[in-house]
Symmetry: C2
Subunit: 352 residues, 2 copies
Amino acid sequence: MYFVLLFYFIFATPMKKKATIHDIARELNINASTVSRALADSPRVKEKTKKLIQEKAAEMGYSRNHLASNLRTQRTHTIGVIVPNISRHFFSTVIGGMEEIVSEQGYNLIICQSHDSAEREAQLVDTLLANQVDGIILSIATEQSDGSHIQRIEASGKPVVFFDRECKTIQGHNVLIDDFSRAYELTDSLIQNGCRHIVHLGGNSEASIYQDRLRGYKDALEKNNIEFQEDWVFKSRLKQLDGQEIAQQLLAKDKMPDAIFSANDVAAIAAMEVLQKAGIRIPEEIKVFGFSGEPISAYTSPALSTVNQNPNLMGQKTAELLLDQINGTQLPVHNTIIPSEIIIRQSSLKTD
Amino acid sequence: MYFVLLFYFIFATPMKKKATIHDIARELNINASTVSRALADSPRVKEKTKKLIQEKAAEMGYSRNHLASNLRTQRTHTIGVIVPNISRHFFSTVIGGMEEIVSEQGYNLIICQSHDSAEREAQLVDTLLANQVDGIILSIATEQSDGSHIQRIEASGKPVVFFDRECKTIQGHNVLIDDFSRAYELTDSLIQNGCRHIVHLGGNSEASIYQDRLRGYKDALEKNNIEFQEDWVFKSRLKQLDGQEIAQQLLAKDKMPDAIFSANDVAAIAAMEVLQKAGIRIPEEIKVFGFSGEPISAYTSPALSTVNQNPNLMGQKTAELLLDQINGTQLPVHNTIIPSEIIIRQSSLKTD
DNA sequence: ATTAAAAATACAATCGATTGTATTTTGTGT
DNA sequence: ACACAAAATACAATCGATTGTATTTTTAAT
């Protein structure tokens, strides 16, 4: 037995026991509650003993155990964030914006990726709730789901804010851009530049953003007296491969479109490359318009027209809204619209 | 008093008290410890009562409180990650790789940004330690520091792995690429393509990666009998603005260089744009080589030569190494080198 | 039926900090 | 010096789950 202890101390020395308030209390012949109050700078402790305790704490390398503190106070100062994919520029920028806001108030973010899987998203929600986060920020997976995990958040009473993808399962705060208007504007811009046969690369039709972009497209066609054609719409996950495949399909057709409106930049760029390799000139023969404002879009040749979604601002607003809820400033549930604008570049311009 | 309670229940209804193991125990006239064991599927509980308990738990919507559990077990299954900036493609991809690995073993990541400030980094380290993370992954800020916060990690006995930026403060695991060799190779490649006057845009000279890239550059010059000139090296933070300013400085000189080796892509692209706007043709008059493999580099015109750092793999290896340490598989401290390769594109090619 | 062994469950301490209440100490006025 | 209020500190319960030990119940063997 002693042998084992010896063994333990020799080989596991890094495992130093951290000092607790009780250790400090013992050293000073004082009660732990006083130590706790002193370290919290409570007026209930005499200045002199406060100083004594704080010095001893520093000397012993004390650091408050947040687990214990959080358990007692029922607050963790931690916010759970679930996004489809952290390495997409849009999302990492949104998160950057959130971080700016929450860190000012001493909050931390736990960031998780759903990879657009509803099942994983549900898992993550449960983990976050079990970890007692103070609130959840969620960009819902495009994959269809019964929304039961969303209801679990609601049942927990924890504040939640949705961004980018609107939540229809429960009444909650959504921070969005006006996908419909931007889609309308960009489609209209293509038409003004002479396009009459505009193909749309759309995303999962369960997701509100893709529904709205499609609606904007349809509406612009209608207003310009262009008949909407079902087979001009290609639905996919809008990954690089999807863009490439759809471009191939277009190349195989008798009649090529004179424009492509892709619901994201990744697919737009992929399609553009395939078309160009096949000898098609952009924007002369086909104009292309993307969506989501990836930084790459400025560097493609020709530069890709797209939509700036102000992701940093979106992150800030989302975080502010959540903190307001956490702090009890009960705001009426509503949707916040973040300003956005279409960016017209070479790829969609008229050429004479 | 009752009135206050009434008020509370009417207006704060979302605040539902979650069921605890004690609640379940009370309902079943059983002891909480048995409930705890049943939910952990311990063999010490009869199958019949286990089922009873699990059903009741489900019925009451029970969910384990990780705070309490973590406090007792002294493990949080949470890993703290500190990176300079989450929205840089390299880092978000590294994090993606980490997440793939740790989520398999039921771990979560707390992701923080240091913005390359040593002070903020130190703060974050303390917060993470106070939150009792099971380990820390760190890409050290380039800003100089006394390294005291690194020593605090060591003192805590918590496992730590460094990646991308080597830690010289303490002996620890580092996951790196061979910056020296890649810098050597790319400089040599420029020389083979006829360049004799190669300017280097370097980063903070405290950071090992920038030291090594500079060394590779110097070494390649020396091996090719080209005299190293101090004023060919421009040190900066390698942001967009830095690249632009340095390009302006170059334009103002009597004799322009015939190549630029930038220690990152952002500065390389910024410089390239300024030079091109001034009428200089790339790669005909000046060849440019970047570093870090930003996706944008493939889309600039001309496409930018760069170095692929395999960030996803780097994240995976880093996470594996940390988990090994957490799980007690004590590996000897060492540096892990992730394969990397130079990507030669249009911007650095010889033109005849 | 008796009893030892094995199985199942109950008890109680613990993790570390917080906080309402009780107690002791200090200070003031007379 | 005494009473009394105010200030400072101590006590003890609590947050919710875990776990070593003690106790009760069940099973099996004689």
